[in-house]
């Protein structure tokens, strides 16, 4: 499935990996590209089916599918994934700064990229991201890993249970909920990224982030609870902060609200100032 008619799919190589990329326009587009980095177990299309086309209405949008190392290459470190972002940006938007939007695991990579490649990042959005994995996360990761290792039929339901907010799950009909669980069973293999997630620590990179940053926390997030987003807000000099009433799966639960927050920030980061807590207006 493609995002929109006209989106160009391509392949970019790093020295170690082959990465699929998506571009809503082309390198001649004068606008600052917005680079979307997906989360654990996702792909550009599975996580940004909503956000990519929404943003593409007024921005040039680039996305990529992160590639995990082959078994023989061992476990990936942060650089393994950062390299892939560097390669896609160099190939599709050379000699130009970009805006980076990272979600979940993608926010970890985005933070590392922004800390290491300050000169390339014009603005940064970190959605449901974190700096260092803590024992609450490791506990969930451990349950996931055991269910996965045992080939448990309970795994998809466990994933849905932890990914979505209670309010979202309650608003589904029984068949819709069943569909959600069924689709959780069919995603890409996430075992490598789940191992990576156990020991994330990008605190040194986070301290180096210079770009204006929007940090988005999700109030009902059990996978990356909002205290992580608040710590990112505390750790990034030029950061502003906003919370969305959602579970971790905010890209599915509240895509329009996410878009409503991200779009004006990308268009004009100076609209808000460092340290601002953005309060959502009542509707």
């Amino acid at each position: 499935m493609n995002f929109l008619p006209g989106v160009r799919e391509g392949v970019v190589r790093t020295s170690r990996a082959r990465v699929t990329s998506y571009d809503s326009t082309d390198p001649d587009d004068p606008r600052t590209p917005v680079v979307l980095l997906h989360g654990t177990g996702g792909t550009a299309t599975s996580h940004f089916w909503a956000l990519f086309p929404m943003l593409a209405e007024h921005h040039r949008v680039i996305a990529l599918d992160f590639t995990d190392p082959a078994e023989a290459d061992g476990e990936p470190d942060t650089s393994w994934y950062v390299e892939q972002v560097e390669a896609v940006v160099a190939a599709l938007s050379p000699h130009r700064r970009v805006a980076v939007v990272g979600y979940s695991f993608g926010a970890v990579v985005a933070a590392a990229f922004a800390g290491r490649r300050q000169e390339l990042v014009e603005s940064l959005v970190l959605v449901a991201g974190w700096t260092r994995s803590d024992q609450q996360q490791q506990l969930r990761n451990e349950v996931w890993s055991r269910l996965h290792a045992e080939g448990s039929s309970a795994l998809p339901a466990f994933m849905v249970f932890t990914a979505y907010s209670p309010a979202y799950l309650l608003a589904r009909t029984a068949p819709e909920l069943a569909d959600l669980v069924a689709s959780a069973a069919t995603g890409r293999d996430r075992a490598t990224m789940m191992r990576f997630n156990r020991t994330v620590d990008v605190s040194e990179d986070v301290a180096q982030i210079a770009a204006p940053t929007l940090v988005v926390g999700c109030t009902a997030d059990q996978m990356v609870p909002p205290h992580h987003a608040r710590l990112l807000f505390g750790g990034i000099r030029d950061a502003r902060y906003v919370e969305i009433r959602s579970g971790h799966a905010v890209v599915h639960e509240r895509p329009a609200e996410l878009y409503h927050l991200i779009d004006p920030f990308l268009t004009d980061p100076a609209r808000t100032t460092p340290g601002d807590v953005i309060l959502q207006e009542a509707v």
Partner: protein, 512 residues
């Protein structure tokens, strides 16, 4: 504050001046009550409301057909400044919504400002006095600022059927329901398959001896996720108001997330089409009927309807779906285009409203006597979907480019009320008349035309009341997200206006 003369009921055409205020509001539906409440709470400006009917409530007063209910969840389809905890169901029923509006009028103290049974006959901008002179069926009203809050789904559209006059049975429009007609055991026809019709049909199927539904185009219908709120929930909403507010916010963002369907984004279209297709397949077993109920246009071109009872009604043996079209009417019923004759006792016309050529525009004259309907001959032209070049101190609520394909119109109405109230402050503070420039209006219209490109409403094969019949422009709808309407048009900005200089000054409290 108010300068309303307490009204002795004068004869029609009477020249008696019944009110002389800063603001005159025409209409007492959601729009009129929104701006009325704002002005009343603010307490700065004098105002009056007029309505052609004998009670308030607008479209929710007029549409009393069986099964009438809202298609937007009531916790969203209600004023943010008057949250109600007592909605019985997710989707409020017409009597509840009307009650909500009537209570708004009473509790916000609007009734003493309201002139009922007062149809606006014409409104003329008086250049000399720099004010609006409005004639109604009960007398005159003078006001510095005129706000039309007439709605765009107010005046029934009746199809031009050959032989309509010769039919000897009962005939009425869905928005003018004749409750005196006993429908039990009757042979009933319903013309139309829009939002009203699909609510009416299941109700009539329970009463009629036979029911024929005349369909021109099959609508997309998705499940109506309705349910009753428990007493515990309603009390919770009252005791913990933030729970109701969170529910409302969730409903709002759900609606916003449907807008990309209208931009034709494949993933969004596929999701909704699947929901509609699965719903039809689950409810209609007969392949031929299913075929005739399958829409022939792109999803979102016309309103997407919500019903769990419409398809099942059509599968009953005494209910028939007629798709060949109506050739003509006779004394005793309908002759279909395929030649079949359908005998009827009652014909319900559920064919919608005059939404593109807004009737009130034929009654408003701006500078140099220009008629608003002439200015809008090729579709509505405005600034901020609210004001019009050549029509000083006129603000149109729920006029051109305010309708929504996905979302709650009350959100737009509140945004407009905020805008209009800012404009009224400006007009009163400056003691001057204001009018948007022609350039600003051209720019606004051009920008909307640009945004409309690529939407499903302008796609090939899409014909609907959202488009103007002459120009083809998307004149009824706001072609973007709701939140963007408020961000762009939710606060008054004098920049696109010309200030016409100081006219007469109305001292607050001055009576005539």
């Amino acid at each position: 504050m108010s300068t309303i003369v307490s009204p002795p009921v004068p004869a029609a055409g009477n020249e008696t001046v019944l009110s002389d205020t800063d603001v005159l509001i025409v209409g007492t539906g959601f729009s009129g009550l929104a701006i009325g409440t704002r002005l009343a709470r603010q307490g700065r400006h004098s105002f009056a409301l007029v309505d052609r009917a004998s009670s308030v409530g607008g479209t929710w007063r007029d549409n009393t057909y069986p099964g009438a209910a809202c298609d937007i969840p009531s916790h969203l389809y209600s004023f943010s400044f008057r949250p109600s905890t007592s909605w019985s169901h997710v989707y409020g029923r017409q009597p509840q919504i009307l009650d909500y509006l009537e209570r708004t009028a009473v509790e916000e103290g609007l009734l003493p400002h309201t002139f009922l049974d007062s149809e606006m006959l014409d409104a003329v901008w008086d250049e000399q006095a720099q004010r609006w002179d409005v004639r109604t069926s009960r007398g005159r009203h003078l006001a510095t600022t005129l706000v039309t809050a007439c709605g765009h789904l107010s005046d029934p559209a009746i199809p031009d059927l050959e032989g309509l006059d010769t039919f000897t049975g009962e005939i009425f429009h869905s928005a003018r329901w004749n409750h005196d007609v006993d429908l039990v055991g009757k042979r009933i026809g319903v013309v139309g398959t829009g939002a009203s019709a699909i609510q009416i049909v299941p109700e009539l199927a329970d009463l009629a001896e036979s029911l024929t539904v005349f369909q021109r185009s099959a609508p997309y219908i998705v499940p109506r996720k309705d349910r009753a709120y428990s007493e515990a929930e309603k009390t919770m909403f009252g005791r913990l108001p933030e729970t109701a507010q969170q529910l409302r916010a969730g409903l709002f963002w759900d609606s916003e997330a449907r807008f990309p369907q209208r931009l034709g984004v494949p993933a969004f279209l596929a999701q909704m089409k699947k929901a509609a297709r699965d719903h039809l397949a689950a409810q209609v077993a007969d392949a031929d009927l299913r075929d005739r109920l399958t829409p022939a246009y792109e999803l979102g071109c016309k309103r997407i309807l919500l019903s769990n009872t419409y398809y099942p009604a059509l599968t009953q043996p005494h209910v028939r779906l007629e798709t060949s079209g109506i050739a003509r009417m006779t004394e005793t019923g309908v002759v279909a285009r395929d030649g079949s004759e359908i005998a009827l006792d009652v014909l319900v016309v559920a064919t919608g409203f005059e939404a593109t050529d807004l009737p009130f525009a034929h009654r408003i004259r701006g500078r140099d006597g220009r008629l608003l309907s002439d200015h809008w001959a090729e579709g509505g032209r405005t600034v901020a979907s609210t004001s019009v070049a050549g029509f000083p101190n006129l603000f149109v609520m729920q006029g051109p480019n305010t309708g929504l394909g996905a979302g709650s119109i009350v959100y737009i109405i509140e945004s407009q009320a905020e805008y209009v109230s800012g404009a009224v402050d400006f007009i009163v503070d400056r003691e001057s008349a204001i009018e948007p420039t022609v350039e600003a209006e051209d720019a606004y219209v051009a920008d909307l035309d640009l945004r409309s490109q690529g939407t499903v409403w302008l796609s090939e094969g899409c014909r609907s009341w959202y488009r103007h019949p002459v120009s083809g422009r998307l004149s009824a709808l706001w072609p973007d997200y709701m939140h963007r309407y408020r961000a762009e048009n939710g606060a008054f900005d004098p920049a696109p206006y010309e200030i016409l200089g100081s006219g007469r000054t109305v001292a607050a409290g001055q009576a005539r």
